[in-house]
Symmetry: D2
């Protein structure tokens, strides 16, 4: 069974290859009656756009989303919401040398072994181009989440060796004020130096994206396999180039003692249940505890390095391929922030609808 659909109640299917006619998707299961604003979609796609300030040499043109169905008189109807983005003019000929060679650390080889052939033009389906469809679906999910007061905010918390600890929180304005989407200006400056150095050396960088989801009501998450962190981890690890995921204290939790890591329950001044710390990152036993949901995602450095690369061909002969002319980013994490947020929004749209069947009476 192929895997181009995600979610169980709020279901997102995406389609399209990097150099095909179009990419797009279908959102099925979005409740009727949500005011629908394509401006949200455009804004998020804009955030994902290549940025020449970051020495991004990928296509810079704006993606134009087109809604094909599911919206009537400005509201969702309950019918599937289909959308597409037409791929603009490009030069597939540039990929001619890749017709029968495997690029290091790309999906070429596995894809070839899986399907018996592959679309060599820029990665086809496994190109990061595919994430534009996720951003559109995520923008639809955000409009559902807005009804529940749930918001998603990510930021760049690492580029190369420069990192920004903690889970903020940071506002959208603070994040967007930075070209790198790093809300701490000193850290951002150091990150930019890393990026400039890598650019000059024709190398690439990885990084981290941290993300906080606010407003998540206690109770979301579906034991025992579809816990909040399970669904988030799956969603994040499906983003191209992601190598790691952690909730709250994450890997550091493995070095802590129970007395230090436990988050004691208490009540706040309004009498609401709170915990005095949030090492857990917002879930306990896989179910949301009412705290902010906090997680971090690790991206490997961009695999497309502008150098000559020694590799092998489909018939297992050695070949040197020339990637110096490729159009790629030095570091994707600033552009990955809206992708991480989109996947988180899709996960919580699904979890909030799934939670509606937890009780005999359910008011959400």
């Amino acid at each position: 069974m192929a895997g181009n659909t995600t979610g169980t109640v709020f279901r997102v299917t995406t389609f399209g290859e990097s150099h095909g006619l179009a990419i797009g998707g279908v959102v099925d299961g979005c409740p009727a009656g949500i005011s629908f604003d394509t401006g949200v979609i455009r804004y998020e796609l804009g955030r994902r756009k290549a940025n020449s300030e970051l020495h991004s040499t990928t296509r810079h043109e704006m993606d134009e989303p087109r809604i094909l169905s599911g919206i009537f008189e400005g509201k969702t109807t309950g019918a599937p919401i289909a959308f597409m983005i037409v791929n603009k003019a490009h030069d597939p000929g540039a990929y001619h040398q890749l017709r029968d060679a495997y690029r290091a650390s790309h999906g070429d080889y596995g894809w070839h072994m899986k399907y018996g052939h592959f679309d060599h033009r820029g990665g086809g389906r496994y190109s990061a181009r595919e994430t534009a469809a996720r951003v559109v679906a995520g923008a639809i999910a955000r409009q559902l989440l807005a009804h529940y007061g749930i918001t998603v905010q990510g930021w760049v918390s690492g580029i190369g060796n420069i990192q920004l600890d903690g889970y903020g929180p940071y506002t959208s304005a603070e994040v967007e004020a930075s070209t790198l989407r790093c809300p701490d200006s000193d850290v951002a400056k150091a990150m930019m130096s890393e990026l400039e150095a890598a650019f000059i050396e024709k190398d690439t960088l990885g990084g981290l994206v941290s993300c906080v989801v606010n407003g998540v009501p206690a109770g979301l998450g579906e034991p025992v396999f579809d816990k909040v962190e399970s669904e988030l981890a799956k969603a994040m690890m499906s983003i191209p180039a992601v190598k790691g995921f952690e909730m709250g204290s994450g890997f550091k939790a493995s070095t802590m003692r129970g007395t230090a890591h436990n988050d004691p329950f208490n009540t706040d001044e309004q009498g609401a249940v709170v915990t005095t710390t949030n090492h857990a990152g917002g879930t306990l036993g896989g179910i949301a505890s009412g705290n902010p949901v906090c997680f971090r995602v690790a991206f490997k450095p961009v695999s497309s390095v502008k150098r000559k690369e020694e590799t092998i061909t489909h018939d297992k002969k050695k070949r040197v391929i020339d990637l110096t002319g490729g159009r790629h980013d030095v570091c994707v994490v600033p552009r990955a922030v809206p992708v991480v947020e989109a996947m988180a929004a899709i996960v919580f749209a699904d979890l909030i609808l799934r939670n509606r069947s937890a009780r005999i009476k359910q008011n959400l």
Copy 2:
């Protein structure tokens, strides 16, 4: 929609509460014709058993699995394989003080908010007791994987601040030779000191489990949402107490440069396609590359600390609960190794069957 089923072709459903009559599960979608050995199930359950050498004070008795269906004349029939383990005598009265109080860093509160009430007897469904059913299902998955030459081997790679780097590989014998399931005896010794110290101080520890899956054929994994690492991450994050997951170089990849992280393709002496390094951890573009699949899982310290704990009750009053008499582990990671392996086996059993529909001709 509840979440007690995982997998799409090889599907595992589990049931049962910590202090109910029984726990168990149903494996649907296991192909017919596999020689079935309950010894494999008993062996894996034995590995998960509490160990007094590790100051484990949980119930020590052996779990007795009972196969209810799906096996005939020593082979799988294609019908669902149901199994159960009867819960032995115990003392639910010990949990009386928890009837209306939330334990720190346990699922009590979220569960209460989700379902409107909860089973206070030792965590009910969100107790780690539930993982015994996963181990049984994993032992069934292992017998399917054996037909494909796929093996799963985990080990303890961290307890508290003591860690063992790298992905070995290690043999089953090397791992099982150590009470802690840490295959490096020097590291194991240091870990044991950490554990003793925590025990004396009535505290608990977290840790790391590393795992390698060998024999995975190139091509497994279902783009774009059900990649190998997506499915593994989801499975691992669904294990109680897990806070982080990483593939191959993982979080460290975020600090590396592309030229250092890329795994160049080459051929080995037999002419097979190989990569000279495996930073990726065995997948590229979400699809298995034929390399060993390597990942690491981070566990938080055990939340049940043998102390008095200040918390609040269901009606938001402060209360001190006395957990000094609880039966809990100082550190779960040695017992978590077979659970991690079981979930990995379930994931690959599913991926190998899903991959059968990738091509018009498929010989696996």
Copy 3:
């Protein structure tokens, strides 16, 4: 992918073979907080029991259901509800002659071709014994539906050539007053004559079950593939021996004209929307219209006829098998009534929970 799970939110998985240790199932996704009465389960299993007045020679003993999980202090907890029925003493040796022969109109041959081997002892997994697990799951579904005022009532509307037209309605008392579960005593008498004649001639009969679901709120059903009638048809056709399904006017609708078949909308005395006729059988465009949902199910005659039967063996040799001593019903439809009802209850339990995500605000 195997097919032993049905439903999307209210999910039922069944397991077990006719002559294995036990049959049973798991209901996942049942909301928490429903008062749970095992008496309902026992009552429904009692209705499915063999009846010697109908010359049923199958095992007469009562099935004892055992609930393994998901219930605490008399209520559903939101955890999966597992149940089992231990298979009592029996004589698998009676099936020895079937070890390598295909019975006419049984699943033996297809099962053998599918799985490469098969459990010859009374049909294994494809025995109608499996429907006992459906009846238990249906009894759980009924308790959920009771919260919504939805009730399911079936009856025998055909045995052989004797039929009872229309959709009643009939009460449970009217149906259960008849050994044959036919609520019209004159028709029932004629049916009994048919049955006696077939019994004397050592032959078997088919029949019809009609069913009405009352209290279904307008709006249930999930376009475009999971319409009310789609889900019902799938559920009914999965019952052993079922050959046909129709909604409302059904096959007869194909011979009617639009002006005669259309159900005009109007308001009743309370001002509620009604239709003056219900040819549709309670759904329009696949969505419940608020009218009673009415459908009919056709069963073929019992395939196990007490005669000698000429057939072929696995190695394609002719053989005469002696079925004169078999324990089988002359006609199953009276016992099939609770099975039809159970599957209908499972379908509506699922549809009512699925419908909760149709709107941004949903009060059900």
Copy 4:
């Protein structure tokens, strides 16, 4: 959970409203390497086109399918195949009087109750327009089935009171030679008289479609809930206007005796296993027996009758709506033949891929 996706391995999602920008769909899970011919799609869409010889007054223009993804160099790649058909110019103003009124026997009322509002323009999502997307997906499924030698052939076997018994078989040429798609010319003539009479009386007709699937290998079908007949019934009942479904002898089986209905096993001259009759319609115990799969589908008469109709409005006031100018068919069954076939092809594409996981070795 919405229901716009069908299938488990070969998965079809459709989208689009009657008067929206476009209708279309995504096929996920189609194996790679299938030669892809858009001519097959155009041919099937042509068969579904309105026909003025049948007094069809619906839009006559040809639908132009556009493949957006999943095909490369003339073959399927394993990536999702997305397609769309742009809706041509039309007059939604014609539907103004329906903005707040419920048409008899249409989905208007249920849709309104489900989603809180509805798209009044010609039925929106529940218009039969939606079936064009099914025909495209079915044409893709046919190309997969061709690799297995499986073919699907339907025909009109009833219009009003005129019926054609039996399951033929008939060739495509025999069926297509008739405007009505009824392969018996005498019966077709009588059917045409029925149709003319109804047309003159401004009334509409229902009818039957029979269908045979040849080349189905023994073993397809997934017990116990996803039997061949379960999946077919679900698929057929999801087609607009369908009221009944039967396999093989169907409802007539309910009146037959076991000795008459049983299909004895034998071997043919080549030594292959055959049954001497096929009352079962090609499945036993829900699994294909190697015989042709035969089924029949009942359609109600077209609900849109060209008359004035008394109904009620959203605020429950009486209103007369004038439907004399509507563009509708007198009888849809000739155009429904390719829709029935398409759904059958989708079902078998899914079943054949699902069956690949039935055994440890599987060669299909």
